[in-house]
Amino acid sequence: MNTLQEKYADRIETTLAKYPDKRSAVMALLYIAQEEYGWVSPEGIQDVAEVCDMDPTQVKSIAGFYTMYSERPKGRFWLQVCTDLPCALKGAEKFHHDLKEYLGVDEGGTSEDGMFTVEHVMCLAACDKAPLLQCNFHNYEHLDMEKMKVLLDQWRAEVNAQVNKS
């Protein structure tokens, strides 16, 4: 029993039950691994490989193909700004640029406090709500820097509150 199997037994079981073949669960399990380790770490790859009865090479291959698996550690909040054409027409590129500048990070970089990773992404299928970003897979729409600052403060505060609690 590896870490994932121990901690996420139910979710893994429900996932496996969906398919006639264990290998099909690899994508869902990679999300779980990412949740557990904060990124798709070598341990995560190993755990998933064991559950899905695959060679770790194949799991790593899947993790590398899809952009929503992070193959390196990132900040607590993974901000993915859509800068694709429809959003760009609505000023998303500038928004993305300003956000990076505000946080002092380069593309794909993480803010010094380890809190925010900023990355641009392709169309998020919410073009009518541009500019927008996805933070840890939840959408925040119709943004501008003012709103953004509020959100950033709020997220930071949430984390601090949690840290203080524990």
Partner: protein, 449 residues
Amino acid sequence: MSLNIIFREKDIPNIREFDVYSKNGGYEALKKALSQTRKQVIDEVKASNLRGRGGAGFPTGVKWSFIPQDNPINYVVVNADESETGTFKDRQIMENNPHQMIEGALICAYAIKAAAVYIYLRGEFWDVAHALDAEIARARKAGLFGPNGKLKDADGNPFKVDIFTHLGAGAYICGEETALLNSIEGKLGQPRVRPPFPANKGGGLYNEPTVVNNVETLANVPWIINNGAEEYKKIGVGSSSGTKIFCLSGHVKNPGNYELPFGVTFRQLLYDYGGGPLNGGEFKAILPSGGSGPILRVTDEVLDTPLTYDDLRKFNSILGSASVIVMDDTVDIVWVASKVTKFFKHESCGKCTPCREGTYWLDKVLDRILAGGGKESDVDLIMSVAKNMQPTTLCAFGEFAANPTIWTINVFPEEFKAWVDGSKKPAEEKAVARPARERVAAAAAPAGD
């Protein structure tokens, strides 16, 4: 003019909830279909002229009829990958009226004798998927399908097909149906060689015959079964029957999804519904089918064209998934070409040579032009590279990827000329977006392991 076959939330609030959907005639179409023979159901869908809303416009009933009914296991796969630039209709359907799509998928499952339905959602639909799971669970619990399904089909057999969601994880190519199937199977999301086709043994999900349909396509089905093919054909024009959801984005005042009968014109869509140009400027260009379809120069003739599968052909363009991206006269078309090419370069799965190398090459030359270093021959070069890609790639992605170059050059040659003859120069500082995962040596970040 608007008629909400699919966006019924506009007429019935909260129809996304199982109870509300059920109270408003929900799942009656499924029951009706189950009382008919499979052939009757397929024939009805055939007769309705319903065509695939995923982009290719293939007749849905015909697709269903390809599935061998004597095969013990068939599958239905709902394509909810919705990754085409400027497309955001399936999201709204699933957020606001998910049961109608589920019901459509179940009707299909019955018609083709499927063992299960998989809904493939793009990974970014994380929240959508979880809400959908909850609604599926409610309907399953109500005994409409699944292991405890209480409904019986025409032969008196219990209807026990089950539905599962499968989340992707960020890959446009997984909208291509064979790549999608690979992705569900836990393999790389790269397209498969055809034949065999998904409908054939050996070509579908887990090698079994499979129907892949778009969310919007299936959401039409319950209406057709309830009201009949004849009624359906009364909506729309010619071979483009029914309504279509147009995803309107870009430089319009009111971007959004508009469900309208086929045949509405661009003018109506852009002005009556879209509210006209965003900043009071002039419309300059339209991408009628997201990034992948040829671009249109806005003219009166274009504005008055009815939006149907056939009418856009005369401009060498396509309706595709009807993701209408509108641009006003502030837009630099070469920038658009580069922007869209970057999308395709980022999304190329890398399986076949022309697409893998071609997108990379096109992007490089476009960057050079936009950096002010372009030569006249560069325009010929990218045209030729793009044209060399189109006949040689493994799947339609390669054709899509070449379109932005070919058609921006064809339709707006003067814009390219301005860049390469030096009359247009790059702005001092420009936040040119770079794909996150580009692995150029210069920018190589340390790998995680």
